[in-house]
């Protein structure tokens, strides 16, 4: 096999949001720790799945990488350049190579712009092509995502959710990016349409050699599409491994509970399955538990878990977990 090349290196990434608590007097500004010190690499040509439940910080991670949010601390190194220290102009130039597909195909397209404007604008802004060649490029992109190139002058409301998501994908491809951050690209779609969009993303990856950071909460779909998978809980990555390793031998108690909670569409298996039912809810990221973030719901929690934050360590080659008891 070829030596794996790191395309994106994230180190110690933190993103805190200020929240105001209390009434007029005694007002207090506290930090919501959406992402709290995470590190990982994304290799050229792979799909890294990033999973977790709502509020775990997976979308914030994606946005902080693209500098849509400026990180509070940490480094985001894309192909050798640290984006966190880069100027606006530099970031804009580098965004050509890093694009995003959003969750909501209704909110992420401007209703007053035609398909041609939506997809063509990035090309115009970055002056990639002379004006008279833009239209044919847009048509080519539409064909690539499985839409009729004749739809070029239509508006978003004339399309279904799945078709809109295809327009979003065409827009992301317009600048020939290397990395695409897919932020829950299929969760707003019906089941039969989800498979269409996932198949399209896989085809495009093969054809164009794209690298994906695939953010989702659907663990079955993430297993299908990913090369490696990272699991997040309350702002931290608790486990990261190759997909087979992660799904077959989960080491972190949260990953184990998460996997056991996913229903499997087969009644024979469902009847025999033992579920790990977690008690309670996810704590607030404004005031996260000391030590291990998961300890308040963890069946294995012991004294050390409250006292010490578990290190994110390699428990077996390529398999990382943040638990005192892993391995």
């Amino acid at each position: 096999m070829m030596e794996k090349q790191v395309l994106l290196h994230v180190e110690g990434l933190k993103k805190y949001f200020p929240v105001v608590q209390g009434k007029l007097l005694g007002r207090e500004i506290r930090q919501l720790r959406a992402v709290d010190d995470i590190s990982f690499d994304v290799y050229q040509g792979e799909t890294l799945g990033l999973v977790g439940e709502s509020g775990c910080g997976k979308s914030t991670t994606g946005r902080s990488i693209l500098q849509l949010y400026r990180p509070t601390a940490g480094k985001v190194i894309y192909a050798g350049t640290d984006l966190t220290g880069a100027s606006k102009g530099e970031i804009r130039r580098l965004r050509q190579k890093m694009q995003m597909i959003f969750q909501d195909p209704y909110a992420s397209l401007n209703p007053r712009m035609t398909v041609s404007e939506t997809i063509g604008d990035p090309i115009r802004i970055h002056s990639l092509l002379p004006r008279n060649e833009i239209e044919s490029r847009v048509k080519e992109l539409l064909a690539m995502v499985g839409l009729n190139p004749a739809f070029i002058n239509r508006y978003p409301h004339e399309f279904s959710g799945g078709q809109r998501q295809r327009i979003g994908i065409a827009r992301a491809l317009a600048l020939n990016p290397d990395l695409i951050v897919c932020d829950e690209p299929i969760s707003a779609l019906d089941v039969s349409i989800q498979a269409q969009v996932v198949n399209l993303l896989e085809d495009l990856q093969e054809k164009l050699g794209l690298t994906y950071l695939f953010i989702a909460h659907d663990l079955s779909m993430v297993r299908h599409i990913s090369t490696r998978v990272a699991v997040m809980y309350l702002g931290v990555i608790v486990e990261l491994a190759d997909r087979t390793e992660l799904y077959e031998h989960p080491q972190h108690p949260y990953t184990q509970a998460l996997l056991s909670a996913v229903p499997i569409p087969d009644p024979k298996i469902e009847k025999k399955r033992e579920r790990i039912i977690l008690t309670g809810d996810v704590p607030s990221p404004v005031n996260p538990p000391s030590g291990c973030r998961f300890r308040t719901r963890c069946p294995l929690a012991a004294e050390i878990c409250a006292a010490e934050r578990p290190a994110f360590r390699e428990v077996s080659p390529g398999h990382w977990a943040a638990c005192h008891f892993a391995g």
């Binding site: 439940e53 709502s54 279904s160 799945g162 078709q163 019906d190 089941v191 039969s192 349409i193 989800q194 498979a195 269409q196 996932v198 198949n199 896989e202 909460h217 663990l219 079955s220 779909m221 297993r223 299908h224 599409i225 997909r243 087979t244 799904y247 509970a257 998460l258 996997l259 056991s260 909670a261 996913v262 229903p263 499997i264 569409p265 087969d266 009644p267 024979k268 298996i269 469902e270 009847k271 399955r273 579920r275 039912i277 977690l278 008690t279 809810d281 996810v282």
Partner: protein, 329 residues
């Protein structure tokens, strides 16, 4: 066992400015005492409208139930007056909705909202209703139930709100609990909590459940029988084991094929269904699934297949036998 509920030929339409929407086009099914029936389908297939029609919860106008009967204990729900229906809804058939945030009144305490149906339907005193409220909240696993009765909905988390919703639905000991996508808005670990809770409550209280969802995984672990809906029709009806082991309608086959599995590593492509779900501005004259169907034959474009017997306790609305790819004899 006795049929608790028998729905026959239910049709519901909405008269919109753009034209008539044929939302439910002749749906028939039965529910036995104590069983769990799963209803599966994608958005717009008519699964929610079916149960809303039964309970008189369709906004009229624009909606209208134009045909059918829904016998509950021998009485037709569709012919009842509003007062009669209200009595049935509160104490015999309860419903829980998808979004636990918008289905509570935000300006009343949880306790007030749980106690109200008890005072109206069972004529309990305030004190009795409050005690029963605390009891059911405890039953659904909310700690400090008695104090939490004084909380407002926004003070509960999403999972707790859905528990409170279930508590509210169970206060009058209903014979049927209708769950309309109750876990769709929740995270998977919370979904597992809620499914586990409903299963335990059913063992204890013995109510029948109609569980509406788009998630074939959830149904696999919950239901005894399943209706698959498409374009306002039931296209397949079978016991849960039979449906997953031996699906007979191309739509069901397609749905199962387009789901990746958590427990199996797939290296091939997902078998997606081409095309889009139908827009129901016209009553279909042919099979509603025909435009997307991989097994289509000429007859599919001429005649809409009825739900017909294809095996023990197994019905499908399809002219074609998917095993051979030819028309059924």
């Amino acid at each position: 066992m006795e049929d608790l509920l028998a729905v026959e030929g239910l049709e519901t339409q909405f008269r919109m400015r753009e034209g008539v929407v044929y939302a439910v086009n002749g749906v028939s099914f039965r529910l036995k005492e104590g069983e769990t029936l799963g209803v599966v389908g994608e958005s717009g297939c008519g699964k929610s409208v079916t149960v809303m029609s039964m309970l008189g919860l369709i906004p009229t106008p624009p909606g209208e139930v134009v045909a059918g009967t829904a016998l509950y204990n021998g009485q037709d729900l569709l012919k009842m007056s509003n007062d009669e229906l209200r009595r049935v809804r509160g104490s015999h058939i309860s419903i829980i909705f998808q979004d636990p945030m918008t289905s509570f009144n935000p300006v009343l305490t949880i306790g007030r909202q749980i106690a109200e149906p008890l005072e109206t339907h069972l004529e309990m005193t305030k004190k009795e209703a409050w005690d029963r409220g605390a009891e059911v909240l405890e039953l659904v696993g909310i700690p400090n139930a008695r104090q939490r009765l004084n909380d407002y909905p926004h003070q509960f988390s999403g999972g707790m709100r859905q528990r409170a919703m279930i508590a509210m639905a169970l206060t009058c000991d209903p014979a049927i609990l209708i769950a309309d996508e109750p876990t769709t808005a929740l995270d998977v670990t919370i979904q597992a909590q809620i499914i586990d809770l409903v299963n335990r409550l059913q063992d204890k209280l013995g109510m029948a459940i109609i569980w509406i969802t788009h998630d074939l995984g959830v149904v696999a672990g919950l239901a005894q029988r399943v209706n698959v809906m498409y374009g306002g029709y039931i296209v397949e009806q079978a016991t849960v084991d039979e449906l997953y082991a031996n699906p007979q309608h191309p739509y069901t086959i397609g749905l199962l094929g387009s789901l990746p599995r958590l427990d199996i590593e797939q290296h091939q492509k997902l078998a997606s269904i081409d095309g889009l779900p139908p827009v129901l501005y016209e009553k279909p004259t042919c099979c509603p699934f025909a435009p997307r169907c991989a097994y289509r034959v000429d007859r599919c474009l001429q005649e809409n297949p009825p739900l017909q017997f294809v095996g023990l306790d197994h019905y499908a609305a399809c002219w074609v036998d998917p095993a051979t790819g030819k028309e059924r004899a």
